[in-house]
């Protein structure tokens, strides 16, 4: 078995066994990190594989979270499966609608408009009655994972939540891996490599980009839903551009254009965050300085250092 596959399996085993040894606080922390990993994976599809740098991805994370918070009935628990499906669908739809405006536009423009649209979503949730304002929405009950009247697991129990999220992370990872090996996924990577050539080869590039944007948004909504499920509330800060910036940072930390890089990046980011906030309340200063140093001192950009420069296609011999 390849070395990287062994490493992955070990990591998976560690993750699976973690709640048995860790205290509740850490179980919840790692759950949070895994949710961020799903968020980072969703953005990786867009940035790392389609070449679209979005600075507004938190919008769809927030939409997923608010979907649960708004759909949850006041006096009883929501159904996990129904609300999850709805949240993913709504987030994907939101991304599709924004994508129609935004995907026509390239480069710097794209970065700016994705940020601007995310701000619009932020204001909708922050200012309007629909979004219930700056305090956000709290849910009185966690969703219930019932099928046919049978309660499958208890989402009030951190360990159950942990395993649910772990399974979700695996599912998203495997889904993206399959997607990227498919004809559609390879076309996306072609677009990232040379969009002009793809167009001249006959690919309707706009449609592919739009699809990628929508799928990425739907998956971000999935992560947002899980976040609201874990913490029991949704607030506008989930859509802030700090969130959008942080998830981009996760990709850089872990390595652009590799799926498990996104997961590693999420862990690395939270580790940095915890480390820095332990050292000082002004931890953002350290984070900012780290980001700046990261960009400046890695020659040829970050991709080369990660050693992933050669490996560009999922499915090539040396790959996961």
């Amino acid at each position: 078995m390849k070395r990287s596959k062994i490493a992955l399996l070990i990591a998976l085993a560690l993750l699976a066994l973690f709640p048995l040894v860790g205290a509740t606080f850490y179980t919840e922390l790692v759950t949070k990190v895994m949710i961020l990993a799903i968020f980072a994976l969703s953005l990786d599809l867009l940035v790392g594989y389609t070449g679209l740098v979005s600075f507004g991805h938190a919008a769809y994370f927030g939409v997923g979270a608010y979907a649960l918070a708004l759909l949850a009935p006041k006096y009883e628990a929501a159904n996990l499966w129904l609300t999850l499906g709805a949240a993913i669908g709504i987030a994907g739809l939101a991304a599709l609608l924004v994508g129609m405006f935004v995907v026509r536009v390239k480069g710097i423009y794209f970065i700016m408009v994705t940020l601007a649209f995310a701000q619009m979503f932020y204001f909708v949730f922050h200012d309007t009655k629909f979004g219930r304002g700056s305090d956000g929405i709290s849910m009185n009950f966690k969703p219930e994972a019932t099928i046919g009247g049978v309660n499958l697991f208890d989402l009030g129990n951190p360990t159950h939540v942990y395993y649910l999220v772990l399974v979700a992370l695996l599912a998203v990872f495997l889904f993206l891996r399959a997607l990227l090996r498919s004809p559609f996924g390879r076309a996306l990577q072609g677009i990232r490599s040379n969009e002009h050539r793809m167009r001249s080869l006959g690919y309707p590039v706009y449609r592919y980009k739009l699809a990628s944007f929508a799928i990425a948004g739907a998956l971000a909504g999935f992560a947002g839903y899980l976040s609201a499920m874990q913490f029991g509330f949704a607030n506008p800060e989930l859509l802030s551009w700090h969130q959008s910036g942080n998830v981009l940072l996760m990709l850089i930390l872990g390595g652009i254009g590799s799926l498990y890089g996104a997961v590693i990046g999420a862990f690395a980011f939270v580790a940095l965050q915890e480390l820095y906030s332990y050292v000082t309340t002004h931890w953002q200063l350290l984070l900012g300085a780290t980001i700046i140093a990261l960009v400046i001192f890695l020659p040829g950009g970050l991709a080369s250092v990660m050693g992933r420069f050669k490996r560009t296609l999922v499915g090539e011999p040396e790959d996961e």
């Binding site: 940035v47 740098v53 600075f55 405006f101 935004v102 026509r104 536009v105 480069g107 710097i108 423009y109 970065i111 700016m112 408009v113 940020l115 601007a116 649209f117 701000q119 619009m120 204001f123 909708v124 922050h126 200012d127 309007t128 009655k129 551009w241 910036g245 981009l248 940072l249 850089i252 652009i256 002004h282 953002q284 200063l285 984070l287 900012g288 300085a289 780290t290 980001i291 700046i292 990261l294 960009v295 400046i296 950009g301 970050l302």
Partner: protein, 288 residues
């Protein structure tokens, strides 16, 4: 809305738009000429406002504070370009976005460390601290008229600089072909440094000018940045003229939007952006 209320909102909208133009012109110059997207541009606005506050407390005089502030921001621009931004010229957009995002974090925390997180007011200078009466109950503050006038003057000066001077020619030449300009013996690094410092100074000056009116608070940098992005997207990247038209449009839309539909206040600007993008995906006056 009666005529005088309308007039007041109109003047407010124009004043806001002109202020946005100052900030946005710096952003679009830096992008159009140096090819760098600078997320930290809003931070310069904030830095300017806080400088106006602390320097006027220190010196007791807002005008002196502003002059000092301009000098300091030019210096800041030169240092930043020299130390950080010169690394970004050949880098791709993602790296520029990340570095400047890190810079925002640094600026915000430094401000928090040095000056704290409080909201401050800055007194309007005595000369301008009166209002022109319009009706029995309504009047318009002279300071706001002064702000608009200054912005217009600066806009004209900017136009003259870019269109009529040798520096402006160098700036315009630099934007199309860096190597060619260099081979002509023009010091492209100096030109870039000056342009960047100019951009920083414009944003900081806008912050200083706005301080008495909008007060000085932590989130002001990011707030203005995103609106400026909308201005640049609508106006077209690299076009200073487009930035002016778009800024006025946004200033008016935002002001009237807040008055007419208070609940959707923050959203109006983005709706305008969406509408423009539908009609002209490349912005109104795309040049680059």
């Amino acid at each position: 809305m009666d005529f005088y209320s309308f007039l007041i909102q109109l003047l407010n909208g124009l004043q806001y738009g002109l202020l946005l133009f100052l900030v946005a012109s710096g952003l679009t110059l830096i992008f159009g000429i140096m090819g760098i997207i600078n997320l930290a541009h809003g931070s310069f606005y904030m830095v300017g406002a806080y400088m106006a506050f602390s320097l006027s407390v220190l010196t007791g005089n807002l005008f002196v504070a502003i002059v000092l502030g301009i000098v300091l921001s030019v210096a800041l621009g030169v240092v930043l370009e020299w130390v950080l931004f010169s690394h970004l010229y050949k880098r791709d957009h993602l790296e520029q976005v990340l570095l400047t995002y890190g810079l925002i974090l640094v600026f915000e925390e430094l401000r928090s460390l040095i000056v704290g997180n409080d909201v401050h007011g800055v007194a309007v200078p005595a000369i301008f601290n009166w209002s022109i009466p319009l009706t029995e109950t309504l009047s318009y503050p002279v300071y706001r008229l002064f702000m608009s006038a200054v912005c217009v003057l600066l806009a004209v000066a900017l136009y003259l600089l870019i269109a009529k001077t040798r520096l402006g020619m160098m700036i315009r030449a630099g934007s199309s072909n860096r190597e060619m300009v260099q081979s002509l013996g023009l010091n492209i690094n100096l030109v870039y440094r000056l342009v960047f410092a100019l951009g920083v100074a414009l944003a900081a000056f806008a912050g200083m000018l706005a301080a008495p009116v909008s007060s000085v608070y932590p989130g002001m940098g990011t707030g203005v940045l995103i609106i400026c992005f909308v201005v640049v997207v609508i106006g077209g990247i690299g076009s200073v003229w487009g930035a002016l038209v778009a800024a006025l449009l946004i200033g008016l839309a935002d002001t009237f939007g807040k008055v007419l539909i208070p609940e959707a206040a923050g959203v109006t600007v983005y709706l305008v952006m969406a509408a423009v993008l539908l009609w002209r995906p490349e912005g109104l006056f795309r040049r680059v």
